[in-house]
Symmetry: C2
Subunit: 189 residues, 2 copies
């Protein structure tokens, strides 16, 4: 996606330690037209997997997941990090290491929304180590549903998340791939 790559090169900031700041268009401020285009592109690339639902993790996954679900015309579910009072007592719960927080975070989904028969497309803003996506996949499997694909906006290929996702055995699509962030650079594939 040319528009996305241009924005990463123009506005992305390499904060060191593999942290790519894209707060001006993806993660804090969201460019609505760009995120809509991202959702359309992910939907086009992954329509063939026949997803019945999109799953993401709060917080920064929600905007791209909404856009993708709109174009696929399926519902989306976002895993919570804390259990709201509206959730039932029994939940699907796992933990995953947070890349930017340096600690384990919980991923919690109400079991009524990940049932047997659902074909789930996991969408997130970043594919880095893949640990959040693997955590979401554990929730899908624990619920009795199946993961049918993974779509992310930005992949940091040097963190090898794509390899980590191989055991899922599903298509993985990313709209922009950052191959190198050493020495303050942002190198795109």
């Amino acid at each position: 996606m040319r528009a996305l790559k241009d924005r990463i090169l123009q506005e992305g900031r390499n904060l060191g330690g593999g942290i790519l700041k894209v707060d001006s268009f993806l993660n804090h401020q969201v460019d609505a037209a760009l995120i809509d285009a991202c959702g359309r592109d992910l939907a086009t690339r992954l329509r063939r997997v026949g997803a019945t639902k999109v799953l993401t993790a709060e917080i920064s996954g929600i905007a791209p997941a909404v856009a993708t679900a709109l174009h696929l015309q399926v519902p989306l579910v976002y895993a919570r990090r804390t259990r709201p009072v509206t959730m039932p007592d029994q939940v699907l719960l796992t933990v995953a290491p947070s890349h930017t927080r340096g600690q384990l975070v919980e991923l919690i989904v109400s079991p009524e929304y990940l049932q047997r028969g659902e074909r789930v497309l996991i969408v997130d803003d970043f594919l880095a180590t893949g640990q959040t996506i693997l955590g979401l996949a554990r929730l899908v499997q624990a619920g009795g549903a199946v993961v049918v694909g993974v779509g992310t906006v930005i992949e940091k290929s040097f963190e090898h998340g794509r390899e980590a996702l191989i055991p899922l055995g599903v298509p993985v699509e990313s709209l922009a791939i950052v191959t190198d962030m050493r020495d303050g650079q942002i190198v795109l594939a």
Copy 2:
């Protein structure tokens, strides 16, 4: 919005204490087509205020804010509850009481996204006591921007948020208004 009201009556759960569970289509699982229609309706009702940006609060405000921003063709910003590592040292910060958490939560926005000259439409999933929206309005004013309108998906009129927002002096639109939740009921206007 008939479709929204029907879903509230069919799937909404009155959990007591004024808590309306709408996790099946708005707050945990999101019906993409419905949220798109909500965004279109809020955009139509509020286009006249000339917003240059939509502001919401993570987490459950993000989906309706994305949909509204898409239809207004403006960017959106979501206030964070915790400061991510990508945020600058100086931020716009306030606190607001969380209705469902029973405690104060922080609302944090990077000052670069709420500058003088911006005309800000505040969007959220619920209008209850109005305290979150007033907190967002404080951030807008602290940044030097102006609030030009408020749009919410569901208003609980018995919590009097609309009255609390009168000092803002801007149009307030809600797509469905719950007037009474006593005795386990869900009564819509």
